[in-house]
Subunit: 471 residues, 2 copies
């Protein structure tokens, strides 16, 4: 009995579309009204979450769509998952909602166990976690940890701040506020606040008109597909990109304290890189005394068939910090070196220091993934799906290009010939009963839940086949 | 029948201390163990939230303390408030927990009503809200709105980005990433991320070793107390501080797009300012085409006996943006001008665009404050308490200095003669059964819940009297 058979007995067996457009008339009116109190320009359709179930999302007009986007890759175990509903209804959760703690000052007696149950699922080589509220927040807190560590190493961990440092930092000046950089990659996405925005490089709309830190942008490999047929080219591409990184370390006008990289650039187009590339980054950061931050916000929590995508590459020693959010529901960064805990209290601090109810949820999600072997099943689904997509690629080589994500569960993407065709494709898929998202300019990314099974994949393939024939 | 009599019939009638120190032996051991998985250096004591009730917090050793700090000013209606427990247990809340929406793309059908119920409690003159996850996040998103507006005004709202802007912003360079500033004030606190950290000026520990934006720091008035006896001096202080602000607008090396200010600087020492000062800021921002952001993170949601502290000053026209968090549990910024909605979609955007469960909670908190007239009762408590504190100030003029917050409910503070005495005082208060927090170097701030009543105030005063006698 599959997971969805057991836990979602009422999950629909197929999409059901009841209006001529999505959103239908009811949804369109509701969006207009919503727009008076919320910027609704980006709303694809209004969802009826209480009616949604498993892999199916129901909209305001009663359309039922197979959801291959899952709240921008953020719903881990399907809508209204009964195991998570138990957690949501628990006395512990109710208390966490009405008595939200300032965790850093007045930690609840139950919190240590919650934190330990989350840490069981930390990436290999990571012993600690610091909690955050979103992916952007997690990345920026990771940057703080890296900068504190960099300056403490320089100053001496036991040494107090100098009077000059204290005075200058209150004026936003060096030496208290030093010039330090985080290096990121072209097409990277790490968030939209000011420091996270400065390392995001996927689209101008994410960065335009914001003051930014003058941090360096290296190049992420652009491989040729299929990978097996282009080994020589792709190897040179790794070398080229790594040499750019090293060049920045040698020449940048201020110290580069850290490098942040996604194991698979997701928002930026589902761009993959090799174990050689990641190990090369590790080697360069070690050589120059910088920290390596792996951003697993979109790839983590089992999305690629392994709990943390970067573990696939056996980076040695493991990365210094690993950030997470999205499917984990909670956010934060894992780390291993105790020296990434600031040398003084109150340096990495804020009112709430995370959100206990989300940490509780994160631990429950990870436990469910492990206990129900969901990594195994999502990998099987992915292998099945990838093979079907390869067939479709052969059939429609102009419309389904650069298929990628083989062996990485359902974390699969392909390209359309143009941005316009991509929009047409996504709209046609939606009105045919499948919700999918795009990435970068022409990419289509599959981001279903972890309880997406072969039967769901087959429905996706059938509808894909139908829609591709109309493009 | 008072609110606590009605809703917290089991609230203790007095603190009860059962160990010789706080934390006691059990708490100390638990903190040591917690520290293995969480930076517990700032933990005052471990709390047993499920046993805490109303204004009383219970610790791991079974000590029961009257809580005048309330999770760094963040618990609005007392521990385990039954009206909030109803909300926490509702089907809507359970769904929001297990089906967390990417609100900007797939808004739930129920969300419009939730958003409207929050907007009922917006400050006068504010029509819209954008949701965030913390005070720092709210302030930074407000900055983004201000910067977008500033550049769109310059460029023309209908005009697309130029090729040069698009290319340069991807390199973190002007003109796409322009030099623009937010002006803040000495002793201000607005958060600890990178842009919010750049406007925070309360203590070096909040800013040290972080790269920062080179933004200007004006001076916040330092009044002499009691206010009635120092009108002439304080008036000149307003003028002096306003002229510094205007000078920055005339001379700063880049445009100042916004000014951020707290109605009462809280973390920075409970520093108050006059209606004249705030109107002066409004006038200057209007004169120079900048936006005025009021940070109500700590002062808002009724803490000062009025829903939003800045409304007391009748700033005309009202401020452009008002940020909130803490007692609201949800965070975000209110605003009025539609032009603060970015001219293009996806500019102010992120995966979750807030957290529906927290918006739901915020609306419920505001509703409860209004329906149960909690602003009236907290003002009465504050007036009663202030008078008692004035008496104590006369009795202990060396230890209870610069009493401030008259007429502002229980948002009251005073100063100790030194940082050491302050620490001694806070520790002695705690072991005597009252949990209080400090602010700035020598300040003591009272931040009880909104259901703090005369009977609680009397207990606080009695214990204060006892402890002051021992200093």
């Amino acid at each position: 009995m599959s997971y969805t058979d057991k836990f979602f007995p009422e999950e629909p067996s197929a999409p059901k579309i009841v209006t001529d457009s999505i959103p239908g008339p009811k949804g369109q009116n509701a969006i207009k009204s919503l727009n008076e109190v919320f910027d609704a320009r980006c709303v694809y359709f209004l969802a009826d979450y209480r009616k949604s179930i498993g892999n199916y999302i129901v909209d305001a007009d009663g359309n039922t769509l197979l959801d291959c986007y899952a709240q921008i890759a953020s719903i881990p175990l399907g809508y209204n998952n009964p195991e998570l509903i138990k957690v949501a209804k628990s006395d512990e959760m109710v208390s966490a909602i009405v008595n939200r703690a300032a965790l850093g000052n007045f930690t609840g007696v139950e919190f240590e166990n919650i934190q330990r149950s989350l840490l069981k699922y930390a990436p290999k080589g990571q012993k600690y976690v610091w909690n955050a509220l979103s992916g952007a927040d997690a990345n920026e807190l990771a940057f703080k940890a890296v900068f504190f560590n960099y300056q403490s190493t320089k100053r001496g961990f036991e040494k107090p701040f100098s009077a000059e440092e204290e005075q200058s930092c209150m004026e936003n000046q060096a030496p208290g506020n030093p010039e330090l950089a985080i290096l990121s990659f072209g097409r990277a996405f790490h968030g939209r606040l000011f420091a996270s925005g400065s390392v995001t490089r996927s689209k101008p709309v994410h960065k335009m008109d914001m003051p930014s830190f003058k941090w360096p942008k290296a190049e992420f490999p652009s491989y040729k597909y299929p990978l097996e047929a282009n080994e020589e080219f792709n190897k040179k591409e790794d070398e080229r990109c790594l040499s750019i990184v090293e060049e920045y370390f040698k020449t940048w006008h201020c110290p580069i304290a850290g490098v942040i990289v996604e194991p698979i650039q997701s928002e930026g187009g589902d761009n993959h890189a090799s174990a050689v590339f990641f190990q090369g980054l590790r080697d360069i950061t070690l050589k120059y005394g910088a920290k390596l931050i792996i951003d697993e916000v979109q790839t983590g929590c089992g999305a690629t068939g392994i709990m943390w995508e970067h573990e696939r590459y056996n980076i040695t020693p493991p990365p210094d910090l690993v950030t997470f959010s999205k499917k984990m529901q909670s956010a934060g960064y894992f780390f291993n070196d105790q020296k990434l805990i600031p040398n003084m209290p109150y340096r990495q601090f804020n009112t709430w220091c995370g959100d206990e109810k989300l940490v509780m949820l994160a631990a429950a999600i990870c436990k469910e993934i492990q206990e129900k072997n969901l990594l195994t099943s999502i990998k099987e689904t992915g292998d099945f799906l990838y093979q079907k997509l390869e067939d479709l690629q052969k059939q429609y080589p102009d419309f389904l290009k650069n298929l990628r994500g083989k062996g990485k569960a359902c974390f699969i993407a392909f390209d359309m010939p143009s941005s316009e065709k991509r929009t047409e494709f996504l709209n046609k898929m939606r009105i045919s009963g499948v919700n999918i998202g795009g990435c970068a300019e022409v990419g289509v990314r599959l981001r279903p839940t972890l309880v997406f099974e072969k039967k769901h994949a087959q429905i996706l393939v059938d509808i894909l086949q139908k829609v591709l024939a109309t493009l």
